[in-house]
């Protein structure tokens, strides 16, 4: 890094931004297609992630799982959290081919790390009294979970689900870079073709969607609390 490189960079930045302005929305059908795909990926992966995430969270909650199951649950969560979604996407693209399905599976895998971890912490922090009361009626383990634990964490599950959807929507904008579908694919192609005015248009749309998703998710979370 030196002054000359910086100067060259600045002049290049001028060209790039000159090429990017004004943003070009002419090919908006492509953008819409990408965005719809991103939303579909985010929605489906959130639903699947919650379905898988709830049992994993019970396994990873210290107060309910027997030690070996607890270790397995925690291990799974740690494994799911370690790798960046791009790396996971590469593996899924290899497994099921290019396209949004691979992306959806990536986001689902990601849910296990995120949703289960937060839900497990919530289960660990519940009020013991209510659980004891249900247990005192002679309820089985499943019944204790269903009537003693679930009502206490249900608002949190709904809140986390909405937040998870918002996070997935954001991640679905990038995993397209490795061919896992969504608006990221459209964006990456436009960069590769030096269509900077189209890139800027897509970036603006992404920022707008992320803001909209954040707004919807914040609004929905205040409503259920």
């Amino acid at each position: 890094m030196d002054a000359a490189r910086l100067a060259r960079g600045l002049s290049r930045a001028g060209i790039v931004f000159g090429g990017a302005f004004p943003p070009n929305f002419e090919r908006w059908p492509l953008v819409v297609e990408g965005v719809v795909e991103s939303i579909q990926m985010a929605t489906l992966s959130t639903a699947l992630g919650v379905l898988i995430g709830i049992p994993v969270a019970v396994l990873a909650a210290r107060n309910f799982a027997p030690p070996p199951a607890y270790a397995a649950g925690r291990g799974l969560i740690t494994l799911a959290r370690t790798f960046h979604e791009i790396i996971v996407a590469i593996l899924f693209v290899k497994a099921v081919g290019f396209g949004p399905f691979a992306g959806m599976l990536t986001l689902t895998w990601n849910s296990i790390g995120f949703f289960s971890k937060l839900l497990a912490e919530q289960i660990e922090n519940i009020d013991r009294g209510q659980v004891e009361a249900i247990r005192a009626t002679g309820a089985s383990r499943d019944q204790v979970l269903l009537f003693g634990v679930l009502p206490q964490v249900l608002p949190r599950i709904v809140g986390l689900t909405i937040y998870q959807w918002d996070v997935h929507l954001r991640q679905s904008t990038i995993i397209g870079i490795v061919g896992a579908g969504g608006i990221g694919t459209t964006l990456y192609n436009s960069f590769a073709r030096y269509d900077y005015d189209f890139s800027l248009a897509i970036l603006l749309v992404i920022v707008a969607i992320v803001l909209l998703g954040e707004g919807v998710s914040a609004w929905a979370r205040t409503r259920i609390q």
């Binding site: 890094m1 490189r5 910086l6 960079g9 600045l10 290049r12 930045a13 790039v16 719809v36 795909e37 939303i39 579909q40 990926m41 929605t43 489906l44 639903a47 740690t78 370690t82 790798f83 960046h84 791009i86 790396i87 590469i90 593996l91 290899k94 497994a95 099921v96 081919g97 396209g99 949004p100 399905f101 959806m104 954001r170 991640q171 904008t173 990038i174 870079i177 490795v178 964006l187 990456y188 960069f191 900077y196 970036l203 992404i206 920022v207 992320v210 803001l211």
Partner: protein, 260 residues
């Protein structure tokens, strides 16, 4: 006699409609996936093949991974440092109690939002165009991406300070800058330190993939190995990433406990 019902008829209808609506959305989303079932059927074989090639990993490759790994850590550290330096003024603009007027407040908030809504990989693509491929583009991407997160949490820390201490400094006849230095900075220092360490940990994880788009670090070696179909090297690199991320997480948890 009327039987007790948990929901009125209208409520039940609404709940049913809600569930149907959800089902329709999910089916619509599923149809959009364009699932190729023959690929899905084939995927267990593919996965077994993949992991079979990855393990045992190519241990001899460790020597060539060391340098890019150091580069990744440098990208994360430099990016975090840059983000912190830039975040301090932005945080003071975006905190309700230290900003000058609504325009500066809005400016602070807009900078935060833009930085946070674009992923670091996309920032990396942009910086690669400007400064060329390499770790400089990576560090800049990490910095710009972290800016929003760091300054948002910094601003919240500033908003939560104790007014009493600030007024005590004002009462001594201190100037605006002196109030900042002696009334506010000592109060927010632990928060700032905690946020910085936390973000550094996140940035280590993000920096491991920046190389996939050409922004330096271990991701670049990973990309080369994947493109070259050298899966035993890929296996080794993934193990190295796993180790680094785990170490940085433990380190950051330990450091945060010490500063707060």
């Amino acid at each position: 006699m009327r039987a007790w019902r948990r929901f009125t008829r209208a409520q039940s209808a609404l709940r049913l409609a809600g569930r149907l609506g959800l089902a329709v959305v999910l089916v619509w989303a599923l149809r959009g996936m364009g699932i190729r079932w023959e690929f899905v059927a084939d995927s267990p074989t593919q996965m077994r093949d993949l992991f079979g090639r990855m393990f045992p990993p190519d241990w001899a490759f460790v020597g060539e991974v060391a340098d890019p790994l150091v580069q990744t850590i440098n990208i994360a550290t430099l990016g975090t440092a840059l983000a912190v330096i830039l975040s301090i003024p932005i945080a003071f603009l975006a905190a309700r109690n230290t900003t000058f007027n609504w325009a500066t407040f809005a400016l602070g908030r807009v900078l935060m939002t833009v930085s946070r809504s674009v992923d670091s990989l996309i920032w990396a693509l942009i910086f690669i165009i400007i400064v060329g491929p390499g770790s400089l583009a990576g560090a800049l991407a990490v910095a710009v991406r972290s800016l929003g997160f760091v300054s948002k949490l910094f601003a919240e820390g500033i908003e939560e300070i104790d007014r009493g201490q600030v007024e005590a400094i004002v009462a001594t006849g201190a100037g605006r800058f002196q109030v900042l230095l002696y009334g506010i900075v000592p109060q927010v220092r632990p928060v700032f330190a905690g946020v910085t360490i936390y973000r550094w940990d996140i940035n280590i994880r993000e920096s491991t993939v920046l190389g996939l788009v050409g922004a330096g670090g271990i991701g670049f070696v990973l990309n080369t190995a994947i493109l070259g179909l050298e899966w035993s090297r890929v296996g080794l690199i993934l193990l190295v990433i796993l180790a680094v991320v785990a170490v940085s997480e433990v380190l950051s948890a330990w450091l945060r406990k010490r500063v707060t």
